[in-house]
Symmetry: C2
Subunit: 83 residues, 2 copies
């Protein structure tokens, strides 16, 4: 599993849309708070490897491209542990 | 917005993986409880129209293919209102 503290340090950009508390500021975007850690990692990977296309992917792929596997694991741990 | 009661009637299949309470029974699958209604609709549409590919899409696309736009709106309303 990832390191939530390390994830917190990377989460500023995510928080801009997904909320500092993991509740999306924009209704069309997903809440991340309490989401399954493993799912969050697979969603980020799906954006990075191009398995997800379309409008939301155009926004998320550039974000995911900047993340290493460790970053993804840490961010997933950080948002998953939010209640 | 969709009709949560009508969504409930369609949700049995979803509950098999995503949980009757919207908390996924399988860690790699997303929790749906309290997720943004609009996001749930766009995710279902992304599976149905092939914007999402890969392992999870192989499971979700056949499910989404069975759903009308109204079904998607109602299911999204049903899971979004779960706390």
């Amino acid at each position: 599993a990832g390191d939530a503290e390390a994830g917190k340090a990377k989460a500023a950009i995510c928080a801009a849309c997904h909320g500092a508390n993991g509740i999306a500021l924009i209704p069309g975007y997903p809440n991340l708070a309490g989401q399954n850690e493993q799912y969050l990692v697979s969603a980020l990977k799906a954006y990075k490897n191009g398995e997800r296309t379309g409008a939301q992917a155009m926004i998320m792929k550039p974000q995911a491209d900047m993340l290493s596997d460790a970053d993804m694991a840490n961010l997933a741990a950080y948002f998953a542990q939010m209640k």
